[in-house]
């Protein structure tokens, strides 16, 4: 599983204040905590705290002063991205583009130039798709565009767009159906990622719903997630689901081994 740590995001008050006060400590703290929890990428999101490229670069550089975990740049404005890419020490993961032609044309070349990877949301001009077929259609557009720009399939992370369970219950099966088809595009396959917490938005048993849906998505081929990497129950569910899917080799101490290595 590719774990993308979500915590360095101005949506969290401590990070927002850190950006406003140019205080590196909260950012470094979360870079360290998430890296120790085995994050593969650290998502860096400026949110509404600022719209200046230099602030985004400062966040990335601050993270890189503390850890060498690759960055996921959570921003889709070409001018911001161009600057942010330059300061990344390792090829980053861009979060994200939609399947809208204009958007793809502006972002894929920047990603290709830096040998980075990108998350592609299966949204199009008309918004979020309601059916599995439409999701697959938009995923195919993203895939085609990635290949056209010289990316390999594993540099593309497709996000099926998760909808809230409590108001769009029928969407869950459409999502699972779509995910199972993304892997069929190519060999090696694309990665499949999601912003999981949407599923439980507004619901009472958020964590339970998140974990259960995560396990179900893994059975369909999901192999990356933007999440709270310190949520041990979630991480344990993922480790177990991957064992059940025979993606990793079982050993009695698999949970402890993951935390220690």
């Amino acid at each position: 599983m590719i774990f993308i740590g979500e915590r360095i995001n101005a949506g969290f008050q401590d990070i927002k204040e850190a950006i406003q006060n140019k205080d590196p400590e909260p950012i470094k703290k979360w870079a360290r905590i998430q890296t120790d929890a085995r994050a593969t990428y650290l998502d860096v999101n400026l949110g509404t705290a600022s719209n200046k490229p230099e602030d985004l670069c400062w966040m990335i550089e601050t993270v890189q002063e503390e850890v060498d975990t690759p960055i996921s740049i959570d921003n889709n404005r070409p001018n911001m991205l161009t600057e942010a890419m330059k300061v990344c020490k390792k090829p980053p993961l861009v979060n994200s583009t939609t399947a809208v032609e204009e958007k793809m044309n502006s972002l894929f070349p920047i990603v290709a130039e830096h040998n980075a990877s990108i998350i592609g949301l299966v949204m199009d001009e008309s918004g979020s798709p309601a059916t599995a077929d439409r999701r697959v259609e938009n995923a195919a557009k993203l895939f085609e565009k990635a290949i056209e720009n010289g990316l390999s399939p594993d540099q593309l992370f497709i996000d099926p767009i998760i909808m809230p369970l409590n108001c769009m219950q029928e969407q869950c099966q459409e999502i699972l159906n779509a995910v199972s088809q993304f892997k069929l595009f190519s060999e090696p396959p694309v990665h499949i990622v999601c912003g999981l917490s949407n599923i439980s938005s507004g619901a009472k048993y958020k964590k339970l719903i998140n974990r259960t849906f995560m396990a179900m998505l893994i059975t369909q081929g999901l192999d990356a997630a933007i999440l709270d990497v310190t949520d041990t129950e979630m991480v344990d569910t993922i480790l177990t689901a991957e064992l059940i899917m025979n993606k990793t080799i079982y050993a009695d101490g698999y949970v402890e081994a993951f935390r220690k290595s």
């Binding site: 594993d154 090696p188 990793t248 080799i249 079982y250 050993a251 009695d252 101490g253 698999y254 402890e256 081994a257 220690k260 290595s261």
Partner: protein
């Protein structure tokens, strides 16, 4: 139409393990042996790095093994003296290193004392200057006494000590840390237990970068395919980033081959099977060849013809 590029992109690397220590490193060996470091599957040099060839460890035991005379005669009278056998393995058979099995320590064989075993280790270390692999007799209780003494007798020589199992790993970790040796982790043809033993070694504070994995060894025709697939699966997991599986692999080909009827019974017992003189080493060499393909890094061999044939295979394939 262009030929599609079918190369796999592996993300990780098998650990590099060096056995033996020269004078500057606190030992007395004339050379060291390094295995591992692969970034792809065996012999696929177009796909990744294969920095270290598989090596052959010459089989030696403190007491002559219970093998057919035809096989023992091919090795020579030196089989009766561990020191002479060790020398012959290196000087005449050109093995890369030695693998000493302390069969005589077994209570059902000679019940040799830990001190006697340690003496054999010391004598061999004096007589040859290649790196040494040291195995107990396989009886856990006895090995718990034998291996600490042997380890101490070889202190600083950076030997490879076998083997750590779920039942005895604490002892092995303690002696190998104290005397600066590397560890063979053992599992009974079971990839899950293999991984668990490595977890236990890691939990006990031993660095997995100093471990070689031993999934026991099955002779050709006796579960060979089980071990083969475990090797493949372990290697693939290691190359994909499973640090617990990224260890070099060792096989005791000679020790297992000369236990099965195809490699120990002559024509009088197996009519139509051909002479054991030829069939025995062939069985050993074919088994070694199979494990080479599966990803073995260290092959323990005994018969001079099997050694020669395997040396040629390694050269041709590498």
């Amino acid at each position: 139409m262009a030929v599609p590029d079918v190369k796999e992109k592996w993300t990780s690397k098998i650990n590099v393990v060096t056995i033996g220590a020269i004078k500057d490193e606190g030992g007395t060996r004339g050379k060291t042996i390094t295995v591992g470091g692969q970034t792809t599957l065996p012999f696929l040099d177009f796909e990744g790095e294969l920095p270290h060839k598989a090596v052959i460890a010459g089989f030696v035991s403190d007491t002559p093994p219970d093998w057919p005379d035809v096989i023992k005669n091919a090795i020579g009278k030196e089989i009766n003296s561990p020191v002479e056998w060790a020398q012959k393995n290196i000087e005449e058979f050109k093995c890369d290193l030695l693998s000493l099995k302390l069969i005589g320590a077994d209570p059902n064989v000679k019940d040799a004392s830990p001190a006697d075993c340690a003496k054999v280790v010391q004598d061999i270390l004096k007589a040859v200057d290649v790196p040494l692999i040291i195995w107990g007799c396989g009886d856990d209780e006895k090995d718990n006494h034998v291996l600490p003494e042997c380890s101490q007798a070889a202190k600083g020589e950076n030997c490879l000590i076998g083997s750590a199992k779920e039942s005895n790993y604490m002892t092995i970790v303690a002696i190998c840390k104290a005397d600066k040796h590397k560890i063979i982790s053992e599992a009974p043809v079971d990839i899950n237990i293999g991984k668990q033993v490595n977890i236990l070694l890691q939990d006990a504070g031993y660095d997995l970068k100093d471990v070689v994995m031993y999934q026991t060894t099955a002779a050709l025709g006796y579960g060979f395919d089980y071990v083969y697939t475990i090797f493949e699966r372990a290697r693939i997991a290691g190359l994909k980033g499973d640090n617990l599986m990224a260890t070099p692999l060792i096989c005791d080909v000679a020790g297992e081959t000369y236990r099965v009827k195809e490699a120990t019974s002559d024509e009088d017992v197996l009519p139509g099977w051909g002479k054991l003189e030829k069939r025995g080493p062939m069985w050993e060499a074919m088994c070694a060849g199979g494990y080479l393909q599966a990803g073995a890094d260290i092959l323990i061999l005994a018969h001079p013809q099997a050694i020669k044939g395997t040396q040629e295979s390694i050269l041709k394939l590498s």
